[in-house]
């Protein structure tokens, strides 16, 4: 009798579930990204203190990042101040506390809305700009060309942009807050008459050191995160035009997310300090 033929199949490694495969790759990617960003950050701190310093390029980038962003940040700040005042008035009116309107709006703008909204606008404009610029420089071999020209591209491109973003965002936030308060003044005067002197004296009476200082300090961290993430995404982009778009997009998404995470940590630290 003819024996039946036994077919030997090579053992295939099949994941138990689809979700297992997905989660593994997502976790792998996440930790690889975190480790790569950590190395990038450490390299930044190593290069930033090491001479030669790129002062001229840092000033140029500060102009481009800071001065050129001011109109957008100012318009946004003004609208936020105006809208916040108009939206808050009816609620305060119910309790007969309309006179608290300038103080309440000012505290909201200075402590939270001003820094966060300005940082998100900054992430959208500057973070994506840095990401796209460095990625396109990568694609067109400009970074290689710099290296051949006795230039440390990390120092020239990354360090200057991160330093500029870190220093410029706090200034932009102060200006945005000021314009936001002007917007609020306009909002208050739509349905009432309050002199600018009275309006600002009410604001300054209500504000304390604890409102101003932590809000100002956290903007340095926001600026640092936006500059660093934009540079990281651009500098490490994949070759090709698709990589440029991806770098710009992921720079905005990741930087915006980091703004919220840093804000959450800052609020926790501030509340601990205040208690």
């Amino acid at each position: 009798m003819e024996e039946p033929q036994i077919q030997h199949h090579e053992a295939e490694i099949i994941p138990e579930t689809f979700s297992e495969t997905i989660s593994e790759s997502v976790f792998d990617k996440f930790f690889l990204e975190v480790s790569s960003l950590t190395i990038f950050t450490l390299r930044f701190f190593k290069e930033v203190f090491k001479p030669p310093y790129e002062f001229n390029e840092t000033i140029k980038q500060s102009f481009l990042i800071g001065y050129k962003s001011f109109p957008l940040v100012a318009i946004t700040g003004f609208i936020i101040g105006l809208v916040l005042t108009i939206q808050t008035r009816p609620t305060l009116a119910k309790f007969g506390a309309e006179s608290w309107l300038p103080a309440m709006v000012a505290v909201s703008i200075i402590r939270e809305i001003g820094p966060v909204i300005t940082s998100l606008i900054f992430a959208g404009k500057v973070g994506s700009g840095i990401g796209a610029e460095l990625a396109s420089m990568n694609v067109t071999e400009q970074i290689d060309a710099m290296q051949v020209s006795d230039t440390n591209p990390f120092k020239y491109l990354v360090v200057t942009r991160v330093v500029s973003a870190t220093l410029m965002l706090p200034i932009l936030v102060i200006l945005s807050d000021a314009v936001g308060l002007l917007g609020s003044f306009v909002g208050v005067n739509i349905k009432g008459t309050v002199s600018i002197y009275l309006f600002f004296s009410m604001i300054f009476q209500s504000l304390e050191f604890n409102d101003l200082f932590p809000a100002f300090i956290k903007t340095f961290f926001f600026g640092f995160a936006i500059g660093l993430i934009g540079s990281y995404k651009g500098y490490n982009s994949n070759k090709g035009t698709e990589g440029v778009g991806k770098a710009a997009n992921s720079a905005v998404v990741f930087a915006s997310l980091m703004v919220f995470i840093i804000d959450m940590i800052a609020v926790q630290i501030t509340s601990l300090y205040q208690n």
Binding site: E133, S136, M137, T140, E141, Q142, D144, A145, Q147, V148, S149, D150, T151
Partner: protein, 262 residues
């Protein structure tokens, strides 16, 4: 490596050149891999003073990687690379920077800095390599470099305002401004029309004659190879498989080598 010139072995030629002190670049058993992709397996070649060496090969055979190894943009995995008598792997960072001044690299895309004008693009290597150079001297070098490539009128334009051929010429001017002893051209005529390609090829010859540079030219453009090459090397599977003059390789009986010329 198969040598196409009858009666002369490559070893004899290399020894002759070394004895005369004419060898500027010498590669012995160069190796480079990216993961499991062994791009350069065993590269052995020499470049003599004032010689234009064209490297032919299919895409992805590591031609660009080879010239990037010469300027230190890519680290070698193994082998010996001697440039102007110095072993590159033994050089300290400062010595490597000094040596890079003597090597010009024309990138495939030109690699012009988009955020800078033509003048600023040319001033960039001068500012970085020769930091103490006076402004007048810098201006005269920029003007001379632009004049050499016929772009004197474009000094205040930005790279985005230039055509493909002009961008290549500007890239060449920026590379030549430091008067390098060795020139590396990465596909200098790619993406250009035949007339502009011919102009770039003639420019490469002019550079060779005027500055007595030794050049490596990576190209797929056979017309460029015909016009510029003193010697051609063909790379296949990460090794130098054939060497000779344009005519030698053109008359080769090997169908694979002949396929480049058809």
């Amino acid at each position: 490596m198969r040598r196409m010139t009858a009666g002369v072995t490559s070893i004899e030629t290399e020894n002759d050149s070394k004895q005369k002190g004419l060898v500027v670049v010498e590669m012995e058993h160069l190796k480079k891999s990216f993961g499991n992709n062994h791009v350069l397996r065993d590269i052995n070649l020499v470049i003599n003073k004032g010689e234009n060496l064209v490297i032919l090969g299919q895409s992805g055979t590591g031609k660009s990687v080879l010239i990037k190894c010469i300027v230190g943009l890519v680290d070698l995995d193994g082998g010996k690379l001697i440039i102007l008598g110095q072993n590159v792997s033994e050089l300290k960072n400062k010595e490597l920077i000094e040596m890079r001044k003597k090597i010009g690299f024309l990138f495939q895309s030109g690699a012009l800095y988009d955020s800078m004008t033509v003048r600023e693009n040319l001033e960039f290597p001068l500012r970085r390599h020769l930091r103490s150079i006076p402004k007048e001297k810098r201006n005269s070098l920029v003007t001379e470099a632009l004049h050499n490539v016929g772009l004197a009128d474009a000094i205040d334009k930005t790279p985005s305002e230039l055509s493909g051929g002009m961008r290549k010429r500007l890239g060449l001017a920026r590379t030549l401004i430091l008067k390098p002893e060795i020139m590396l051209y990465d596909e200098p005529t790619t993406g250009l029309d035949p007339i502009t390609s011919k102009e770039i090829s003639k420019l490469i010859l002019q550079v060779q004659k005027k500055y007595n540079t030794s050049s490596i030219i990576i190209t797929h453009d056979i017309e460029c190879a015909r016009l510029t090459a003193n010697r051609i090397i063909v790379i296949k599977d990460g090794k130098c498989t054939a060497e000779g003059s344009y005519t030698d390789l053109h008359n080769s009986t090997d169908p694979w080598i002949r396929s480049f010329f058809e």
